[in-house]
Point group: C2
Chain length 479, copies 2
């Protein structure tokens, strides 16, 4: 049963975005609560139809990149982080988004081969437990040899010399088979039977044979269960013992760890002086365990030049009315001091000019700022054929200036997509994210109880909001 | 840099699923921990390549349907449940999965129009806050009329007669505009300014005019903020007041509620005798807030007729070795008593035959069961052209029998997809889920501390597992 007239559907069919202007922050910009990440100007109905599409496109993407960045901060800059989330994401497309935005947030690779191929990310992973358990004995090997060397014989020789007590033969068969297929990429999953009693000894035997008999450099091991801090330290000790005996450098092998790792686990491992080089993180990364949804909203703030305001009893749900611009004000050494929201058309902040900045709702919270640099955050990213560029638009397109040189360059790279030029590469955006985070004060990035970053409004906008509020919200009548 | 030989890629390119057999439970079957939902038989490499694809396809789907079913149980059978999660799901495809599986789990409609169109689900939603805030005064109305009636004038007349204190004119303008466009679908979002002081009075004025002057039946209101239990009760009171004065039946209007609803909120609302008829649930439904990931795994259990077992220090991670079949044993009134895992080829359970059923790992947990019906859960769903049907396969295809008649029919519907016949419709699967849940004992479905449903193994399989364990796991040497 039709619930609207035919004319309405014809009207919908004729709609396009030619009257639309979209302002956005460059992808990867660090954003704070209340700061608009996007501003649309155009016919009400077109803007309204885009609401859910844009929220769907931005919410999970931003959440995922943020979560990945938090994992990166927790792991530290020297660790390798691999995204292993394909099997737990919201279907295949959810998994592709997870791979993309975890990479942008600071991950180094993904086990999702389709994502890696599509996005130019490095595909990374290890063999499966089933590869080990599919082997039963040395008889499963089609050959003992790697090139001219009896790889199995050599490995068994080292096993004897090292006097390892009870490693599994089926596991050794699997490791030999893997080393035969990938002698240059020998990375073994060592926890199928017993990490320290079987997996590590078997790895070391094959690694010694690869190194000393065949001249290859083994890559490392992966731990996927148990006490990862303890096991990684013990694993490193076993590698050093072998090095001491044979003059090898197995201790330089990579130790990969996985198994329900989350941000808290990364911090805890750090406290225990773990020996892990690479983390494979899946479930808790892609489902954003700590906060599975990001609540960005899309609100009508101005219509026909008149401000509109979403009123709510909950102050966190009140939106700031009117078309707005946002500027990041930088201090000495280009450290961001605060983000300033300005009503479009108001006087903009300027370098060297002292300015009162106010909390949008709390009259007691205010400060003066004299910025050393002013970075406009919203730039024109879509200009419909029937929409017009204002002088302010043109000024912004020219004015985007960043903090550090790299942030500036990355910012410019972000800006070059304005007016439909091609978007920056994922690598450029990833560097931009890292540069942005590097500029922030450490206390803003702290995992627990971070100092809130200031998001302010001009004094002019402050009064504008409060006058509007008082005029729109009736005073309740208690009876 | 290539990391494998060309021959390997050629080999991959020639692979297909012609040697593969897949056994699966009908979609929508209620499953319990440790019970295999799928069993694959075929070449190791083909089975291995399917691991992540199948996990990706099953994990989120099952989690979502389960979450939806929990919401349905919490809300009760009489409430309407609408999925509102598109903006918070993992991208557009994640959202489509969310819509599909929340429908299968017991939801009635979705606000995702694309999903509704693609899947034959009823699209459901309300107008936005911005529709209200886009209106500023009565001057925004292109006409006061609906047909021959001065709708605005009539509404203003009721406002005066009801002596409502301070409702917003801009909100009334929006409601009149909406009623003019959709007189038969008038459902108003009433919390833009103040639910009880403005939204409800404005709704009632327009609803009275629609009913008494125009002969339409208004649908209802939506609450999207505040204390939903309190507001719904007060809203119903206001509707009754109007009915008392005008002899209308506005109290029969639907009250829709949304705003961060989760399972706990549904239970809490119930305790407060709320007056809500329909729930719109988004974020906490589609991101599965209570448990954002389901950890189904895919394990090698048998190779060349020999059992393989995933050993782990954590008992919850130990998998049961060997190819297995699963039977649901039903008791009186066809209530499921337990699921019994049987090694493929072992003696199967039979109706009327007393049988010892054991916990797979705890020797003290065991019971005798004499089933009144035996429902095989795994059926052949894919048979490659090069794979063969066994006698057992043929018997299963014929033997699928359910608990109640409806579960049986739904089960058969599920079975008809075997051997590549078309899958059941979403509506049939949704009914199958409901029928399955209706058969379960209430204490198994309880939200808090449910009684665990028994998943057992035969005595034969019990000893088989334990003998294999003891032979595979070395005894640690403490020193």
């Amino acid at each position: 049963m039709p619930t609207a007239q035919d004319g309405f559907f014809e009207y919908l069919a004729g709609l396009d975005c030619s009257q639309l202007k979209v302002y956005g922050q460059p992808e990867g910009t660090v954003v704070f609560p209340r700061v608009p990440v996007m501003r649309l100007e155009g016919p009400l109905l077109v803007c309204q139809l885009l609401e859910t599409t844009l929220l769907n496109a931005c919410n999970y993407a931003s959440l995922m990149a943020t979560n990945a960045a938090r994992f990166r901060i927790a792991a530290g800059p020297d660790k390798t982080l691999l995204e292993f989330g394909l099997r737990r994401a919201q279907g295949p497309d959810g998994a592709m988004s997870a791979s993309r935005y975890s990479y942008l947030g600071g991950f180094d690779g993904t086990s999702n081969v389709a994502a890696a191929a599509a996005m130019g990310i490095v595909p990374r992973g290890t063999h499966a437990h089933s590869f080990v358990s599919a082997h039963e004995s040395f008889a499963d090997l089609s050959t003992r040899m790697l090139g001219e060397v009896d790889l199995l014989g050599a490995a068994l020789g080292y096993r004897k010399e090292m006097a390892y007590a009870s490693p599994s033969d089926s596991e050794l068969a699997a490791f030999v088979a893997f080393a035969q297929a990938f002698p240059e990429r020998f990375l073994a999953l060592v926890d199928t039977y017993d990490t320290l009693a079987s997996g590590m000894p078997n790895f070391i035997c094959v690694a010694l044979a690869l190194t000393l008999q065949c001249g290859y450099k083994p890559l490392g091991v992966r731990l996927d269960s148990g006490d990862l801090a303890y096991l990684s330290k013990e694993a490193r000790k076993l590698l050093k013992e072998a090095d001491a005996k044979y003059g090898t450098q197995l201790a330089a092998c990579t130790i990969v760890a996985s198994n329900s790792i989350n941000e808290a686990v990364l911090h805890a491992l750090d406290d225990q002086a773990h020996e892990i080089d690479t983390f494979g993180i899946g479930t808790n990364l892609v489902t954003c365990q700590a906060q599975p949804a990001l609540g960005m909203v899309y609100k009508l703030v101005e219509i026909k030049g008149k401000p509109r305001m979403k009123i709510s009893q909950e102050i966190s749900k009140v939106t700031i009315p009117a078309a707005k611009e946002v500027f990041r004000l930088l201090g000495s050494e280009h450290v961001p001091l605060l983000d300033l929201i300005v009503r479009a058309g108001e006087t903009r902040p300027a370098v060297g000019k002292r300015m009162l900045c106010r909390h949008p709702f709390d009259e007691k919270k205010r400060c003066f700022v004299t910025p050393t640099a002013v970075l406009p955050l919203l730039g024109l990213v879509w200009l419909g054929a029937g929409a017009k560029v204002s002088e302010a638009d043109a000024a912004d397109a020219a004015a985007c200036s960043g903090g550090s040189t790299s942030a500036l360059q990355a910012g410019q790279a972000g800006r070059e997509q304005d007016l439909r030029s091609p978007p920056p590469t994922m690598q450029a955006t990833r560097s931009y994210v890292a540069a942005q985070l590097a500029l922030l004060r450490e206390d803003h990035l702290r995992a627990v109880n971070p100092t809130p970053y200031k998001v302010s409004v001009t004094s002019e906008l402050y009064h504008y909001i409060h006058d509007l509020w008082l005029s729109e919200v009736p005073i309740p009548e208690l009876a």
